[in-house]
């Protein structure tokens, strides 16, 4: 099919485009504000931040928050751990979830419905904190890095998304054509499915990476060794101290902490979110149209 060069754009389309630009512009501004606020707050005097005097520009600029944040050893330990868990966890998760999702998308696979059901069931029913801990303790995985890498990397939710994607964008005819040519399942998967699924691969990689980056719960429960603890856990300490969620009971201590924490909280937020925020632009290039699909139709 030849591509037609469409140079003329109709008036209706102009209007639509304008409308879209305006709407999108509004969304972008709305979404940018909280980021800007956090950035500005991290270099402003905490008193201004909390009194609502902060609107768009920093007040009482000082970079000491960052300086103090960098002085904290726990910040760097957390950073290192988080990077490690995120990188290896994403790798592990992709290697396990993608093949599984693809395999379950094949309508000719016997018992796939049952397997899917077994997997989905676990999204809703679980033993809870105590038995899971007992199991993990029995496996001697408490206080290990391996656990924090693999736990949370495999999620049925992701498998479902992969399956949906594969079902709707990898046509059955392609598969039949390939098998007639003598292509095995494995070869088909590696040479055809993977290249075609770049978009979903990027999405799932992003989901798993972000999940690991933001996670604190597994580290909280399954590790007590501070050397293994990720950044988010440390950040949560800083956030929780002041929300009144914990009545410390000893106001003597609260005052000292409040001063220190107020000044570094936003800096740590920026430091902990910056790397992962930068991930998406790198993955965007995978969101391109599937080129081969068109050629199959004929």
């Amino acid at each position: 099919m030849k591509r037609m060069n469409m140079k003329r754009v109709s008036a209706g389309d102009h209007l639509t485009n304008l409308l879209f630009y305006v709407l999108l512009g509004v969304f972008v501004v709305l979404c940018f504000y909280p980021i800007w606020y956090v950035l500005v707050a991290s270099i402003s005097d905490p008193t201004y931040v909390n009194s609502g005097a902060l609107i768009t520009l920093p007040r009482g600029v000082h970079f000491t928050a960052y300086k103090y944040a960098f002085d904290q050893p726990q910040l760097w330990i957390g950073y290192g751990n988080t990077l490690c868990y995120t990188f290896f966890g994403t790798l592990f998760g992709l290697c396990v979830c993608i093949p599984c999702g693809y395999a379950l998308s094949r309508r000719d696979l016997p018992f796939r419905g049952i397997i899917m059901g077994i997997l989905v069931f676990t999204m809703y029913f679980s033993g809870g904190l105590i038995p899971t801990y007992v199991v993990i303790n029995t496996l001697n995985l408490v206080n290990t890095r391996i656990l924090l890498i693999i736990l949370g990397s495999v999620s049925v939710y992701n498998i479902v998304l992969i399956r949906t994607f594969c079902q709707s964008s990898i046509p059955e005819e392609l598969r039949e054509a390939a098998s007639i040519d003598g292509c095995s399942n494995t070869r088909f998967f590696f040479s055809i499915v993977l290249p075609l699924s770049k978009a979903i691969l990027a999405v799932i990689a992003l989901y798993i990476a972000v999940h690991h980056w933001n996670s604190y719960y597994n580290a909280l429960v399954y590790t007590t060794d501070t050397r293994l603890q990720p950044l988010q856990l440390y950040l949560r300490q800083l956030l929780l101290i002041n929300t009144g969620a914990e009545d410390l009971g000893d106001p003597d201590a609260l005052k000292e902490m409040q001063q220190m924490i107020a000044s570094i909280r936003y800096a740590v937020i920026v430091l902990s979110s910056l790397p992962i925020m930068c991930l998406y632009p790198f993955l965007q290039k995978y969101f391109v149209q599937g080129v081969m699909i068109g050629s199959i139709k004929s």
């Binding site: 905490p46 904190l129 408490v142 909280l220 501070t226 101290i241 009971g249 000893d250 003597d252 000292e256």
Partner: protein, 560 residues
């Protein structure tokens, strides 16, 4: 001949080996696993780096493996620990609630009085001399003692929770007197609102009366003390005592209704900051720091305000009186004010419980205990005599005993950046909490103040320097509130609730606190009408308020 020499040599060698083995066995330190709570601001990566820990390990010949839970998030971590491998000792009074102990009694190793007196004589002797009834305090309803108490036994600071403070500078500027009645307070608040009380030229930026509902010391319901209702939200204390010492209802009385109506008026006239219901603690302190607040209930001005010139403007005052009602403030029993019943609990996983008790005994020696709590003696604190002078390095045991083990924390100048840096360096060198801020005159540096192994005699704040942290509050309590006789004498439950009774209580009162707090907030916001009041009383009945009152009555009379 050679045979004989060889046999002799062999025997000698064997004997030598046995001797060495015996010697080594004596020297082999005992391994203990201790679980405790770690402060966020702690700069060490583990307790084992701390000086006092190293001294303790050497003195008691133990090797401690610390399991450190993160403060503020201990619930899940504690659950996991209890479900998995138990440590030998729990040194975490704040998180070991009575209910955890009562529900899982076979996890702990009970102690007998004899064992305590034999193995922990430091503690037993000190307590016998200074504290009444301490054995009863730690004995559970089933007659066993599961843990040893820690924390502050006597504490004037913890006599009550929030107390009222008013900005005397503002009063002076407007030519007003400190109010003694609620009506007078209202007039003062009106003046704060309308005139330029903080002297910055703008008469409209003052907040006469601010509070933060999410922070217990500053809550509005504290103010019911002026109507004779000594309540404290943080402990879910919503009852009152009659003259005979029986527990009676507080939130269903006419006094309470009158309190709500009065505060509704205050809100309508913009004399209280109605946003206090949702604002965060940070916002509240920001308001205070910006010199916008004239009156608040709280722990102490230095907790919320960093500038010493500003916080010195505040003075404690007696809660304003209301005609027809006495003033009754929530009071914590002085004897067990900030103590944790289960500070040192030995679990059944501990193989060498004598060693564990030896550790506690070492830590219970008064000076050691204070060092664990406050840092090195002479450097960070010292004992003081009756005039407030430091005893110094020449002090003898008798001198210390004579002064009653009262101590004062040394305050360092941190007004200039160099001084602050020097002070931070000092703290860093000694592996203590890391701090930033304009001033620091804190009371502890190690993070174990809540788990200090000993009940300490009251802090001595008999100093004239009000900028020293805590002194303002101390002075407020001793000089202003105690003479006014406003403390309700019956509070601070010492009795332990048995497990089944606790369960019944929790389920019966499920939702009750939300009803009480919710009605307080919505009434101050929107007013009280006869219908809303009677519907509220109905709700109280549905949510078992009567059971709640009766329960506490039985608890205080030890009838549970």
């Amino acid at each position: 001949m050679t045979k004989r020499i060889l046999t002799l040599a062999l025997c000698l060698i064997l004997a030598l080996c046995a001797l060495t083995a015996a010697a080594l066995a004596d020297e082999e330190p005992v391994e203990l696993t201790i679980c405790t709570v770690r402060r966020t601001t702690d700069i060490t990566s583990s307790y084992s780096e701390k000086h006092w820990v190293q001294a303790l390990e050497k003195a008691c010949n133990v090797k401690i493996k610390w399991i450190e839970l993160l403060e503020g998030q201990t619930d899940e971590q504690l659950t996991a620990l209890l479900a998995g491998d138990l440590p030998d000792i729990f040194w975490a009074g704040k998180i070991m609630k009575d209910s955890i102990i009562s529900q899982n009694t076979s996890l702990w190793r009970p102690l007998t009085e004899e064992e305590i007196r034999t193995y922990v004589p430091n503690l037993a002797n000190f307590l016998d001399e200074n504290v009444d009834d301490w054995l009863n305090f730690i004995t559970y309803p089933d007659g066993n003692i599961y843990g040893l108490a820690g924390g502050k036994m006597h504490s004037t600071m913890h006599t009550t929770q929030g107390i009222p403070y008013i900005n005397t500078q503002w009063l002076e500027r407007l030519g007003l007197e400190k109010p003694t009645t609620m009506e007078e307070l209202k007039q003062v608040l009106i003046a704060f609102r309308d005139q330029d009380a903080n002297g910055n030229g703008d008469p409209n930026d003052e907040i006469p009366f601010d509070f933060c509902d999410s922070f217990n010391k500053t809550q509005l319901i504290n103010c019911a003390a002026s109507w004779g209702l000594p309540m404290y939200n943080g402990g879910n204390v919503f009852y009152d005592f009659d003259d005979a010492g029986n527990v009676v209802g507080a939130v269903n009385t006419d006094a309470y209704r009158s309190f709500l109506e009065f505060f509704y008026e205050l809100g309508q006239e913009k004399l209280i900051n109605l946003e206090g219901f949702s604002q965060s603690y940070d916002q509240f302190t920001a308001n205070c720091n910006a010199d916008r607040v004239g009156f608040f209930w709280g722990w102490g001005p230095c907790n919320y305000i960093t500038d010493s010139d500003l916080f010195l403007q505040f003075e404690a005052m007696v809660p304003p009186t209301v005609e027809g009602y006495p003033v009754k403030m929530y009071t914590a029993n002085l004897d067990f004010a900030n103590a944790f019943r289960n500070d040192f609990v030995i679990t059944r996983a501990c193989k060498n419980w004598e060693k564990a008790l030896e550790v506690w005994n070492y830590a219970s020696e008064p000076t050691t205990a204070l060092e664990i709590c406050n840092g090195e003696r002479f450097l960070f604190w010292d004992y003081v005599d009756a005039d407030g002078n430091f005893l110094g390095e020449d002090a003898t045991e008798e001198d210390i005993k004579a002064c009653g083990y009262r101590y004062l924390v040394k305050s360092y100048d941190t007004s200039t950046p160099e001084a602050l840096a020097a002070y931070n360096q000092l703290l860093t060198d000694w592996n203590y909490d890391w701090l930033v801020g304009k001033t620091f005159t804190g009371s502890n540096t190690t993070g174990l103040v809540d788990g200090a192994p000993l009940m300490l005699e009251a802090e001595n704040y008999e100093t004239d320097d009000l900028t020293v942290w805590g002194v303002q509050r101390y002075v407020g309590i001793t000089d202003v509130l105690e003479p006014a006789n406003v403390f309700c004498p019956y509070y601070m439950n010492k009795n332990i609730v048995p497990a089944e009774a606790q369960e019944e209580f929790d389920f019966m009162t499920d939702g009750l606190y939300e009803v009480i707090r919710g009605f307080c907030a919505t009434s101050v916001m929107n007013g009280v009408t006869d219908e809303s009041w009677s519907s509220y009383l109905n709700d109280l009945t549905t949510y078992n308020y009567d059971f709640y009152v009766d329960f506490y009555n039985r608890l205080f009379h030890n009838e549970l």
